[in-house]
Subunit: 369 residues, 2 copies
């Protein structure tokens, strides 16, 4: 194999595929990127056991071939090459010894037979939805923080995507809170469901551009979803099983509704977080009465009190939360004001806008005044 | 005690003194900042066992007093207050319970009697030197990387400052390399010597501005140095003993001199670093002949070869180094071209400019071709 690249294009492609390289593995082939040059096309692939990324990169094929080399080492080398107008040449011999060369710098690293490499599975492309990359990125980032990525419950470590006609819903939950983002699609795509592993969908969302014009297409099969965008394809396994019955968990009834400045509320909650270390489980207490929220937090470090004007509908209420969960939700809302719906001190609270573009539910905690 | 501050001014003062707060200590008073309000002046002090910082901050004294409160908690709280036009009020009662208030947010945290607090020692101010803050910052940052901060040899963990008439010399070394910065002072200050603990001088250098007009004055006593700048005073203990005899270690003779582009040489060395993990002690080998440096590095990950034009004076030479030491020195030189002086493969190499503003010596290592 002998290929010639522009440095920046090659580096971009490597930066894309290395997102599928596991940080720890005992199987060396999983640490490799596959270079495949055939039929006037150069294709780079990385394949974790959970998800794989394949991308097409421009370059000149002097000799066709197939080669697997250590992905992160290759990325590191290419990053440090001179580049500019000088091409990067990658060449391998029959023992897969690989030479990477640019100007006067020459690296030689061992490679492996590309035949050892596991290809991305074929996915049937009949059942799909399409949205802007920006929409996908936002919907993922504004829900995934509520997933329990390190929990023993695999289902809670996933992002649930549900399509129903023109509506797509993204859901993540961890047993203490639920985050929902609703997205309106451009057309009716029928129905689909997928529980995507949290780490995978996080990595994918980082590859999405902020450009609202650029599309990503999601193809659904039984155990996998394929993401196709730009010149890149990603296939991820799904978490098997039936996701939690969200609609049964979510009740839209309430007795008290409070509308408040999001930034001021967030500031007050962040002040409570100063005093409350993650481990000591102290709550922030909200005392809602007469159009005012009084916040109080108390721990071994000291106490904090604060008051905040609000628009109150319904009866007075005292309710307590883990301040980190409140802060996480408030940070992920873009609106200037936020509405908070409550029933009593033991029932779930939720933030929600009129268009129901987002829905953040948080369970209250016990407290002593 | 009752004081009123502008938030940003108070936060700046806290950011300054908290640099002397140790990260781990079993003595709670060492984690405190002392507020002292008397004679129309508010003074904040933090005092590690090794060094202490005292700064004066503007504010209104409603009631004079003295109070010690947990420094990092106080800093965290003040950082999160609203500020703007609203004053920050700090008030303590006879039990040292402290209220920190701004707008509607009120924190209460326990404080301590300021009398428990250890003041900065008095330093005789007759023996001093003065330089710009920028000069001190640069001289420290361009040497301290060569000190062995975690070594059991305390002397190697220090920065040696030596004043001789109009010359000041900053030196750090770790047994494998020596870094020297020479600074010309504005007048003849006589002579002085001090071995300043590395962590302390690093923290101090971070408090120096990049402004060449702002001065810092260093007062020398037998076991301490006092730094005075802006409205801040820092006192640090010194490492006791006689520093290494640098002049005996440094020989300016050489057999081969090579002049080379600093950035290109650094790029080549950084490429070698990719292949050489810290632990495996593989060198980069420089083969200098006929106006060319050939670099080679080899490890379990692969090999790298490169060549670089240079201006060579003296005989050909093959010599090997830890590439990290070469990279550290090259990164801390500002000039476009750099001169490298060598005698043979077993004798120290040094980088040095004509004005001798810097001098970086590195010991070579053994190699097999």
């Amino acid at each position: 194999m002998k290929l010639e690249f522009n440095k920046d294009q090659l580096l971009n492609a490597l930066n894309t595929v290395t997102r599928a390289i596991p940080t720890r593995t005992t199987n060396p082939i999983l640490e490799c990127v596959l270079f495949e040059a055939a039929d006037h096309e150069i294709r780079l692939t990385a394949n974790d056991t959970e998800f794989g990324i394949e991308t097409v990169v421009d370059g000149t094929i002097a000799e066709e071939g197939k080669l697997a080399i250590e992905a992160k080492l290759c990325q590191e080398i290419v990053r440090k090459l001179e580049g500019g107008d000088s091409p990067v040449v990658i060449e391998s011999d029959e023992t897969f010894l690989t030479t990477i060369r640019c100007e006067d710098a020459v690296f030689k690293i061992p490679g492996r037979d590309g035949e050892e490499f596991a290809y991305l599975p074929e996915i049937d492309r009949s059942h799909y939805i399409s949205m802007s990359q920006f929409t996908l990125k936002q919907a993922v980032q504004k829900t995934i923080f509520s997933a329990a990525l390190n929990d023993s419950n695999r289902m809670m470590g996933g992002l649930f995507l549900e399509v129903n006609g023109e509506k797509a819903r993204f859901v993540a939950l961890d047993g203490h809170r639920i985050a929902v983002q609703n997205v309106t699609l451009r057309e009716d795509y029928g129905s689909a469901k997928a529980i995507i592993p949290g780490r995978t969908i996080s990595e994918i969302s980082k590859l999405m551009t902020d450009d609202n014009e650029k599309e990503v297409v999601l193809f659904f099969s039984e155990n996998q979803v394929l993401f196709s965008f730009d010149r890149t394809v990603i296939v991820t396994r799904l978490i098997e099983g039936e996701y939690f019955n969200i609609d049964r968990m979510i009740s839209k009834s309430y007795e008290t509704k409070v509308t408040v400045s999001r930034s001021r509320f967030l500031s007050d909650v962040e002040r409570a977080v100063i005093l409350i270390k993650e481990s000591d489980h102290k709550p922030v207490i909200l005392d809602i009465q007469s159009g005012e929220i009084r916040l109080q937090a108390k721990s071994a470090f000291g106490s904090m009190n604060s008051r905040l004007q609000c628009e109150q509908a319904g009866r007075d209420l005292m309710i307590a939360f883990n301040p980190r969960y409140l802060a996480d939700a408030l940070r992920n809302i873009d609106d200037d004001t936020v509405a908070m719906y409550m029933t009593n001190a033991r029932a779930p609270m939720y933030f929600c806008d009129d268009r129901e573009s987002y829905f953040y539910l948080i369970l209250p905690v016990n407290f002593v005044v």
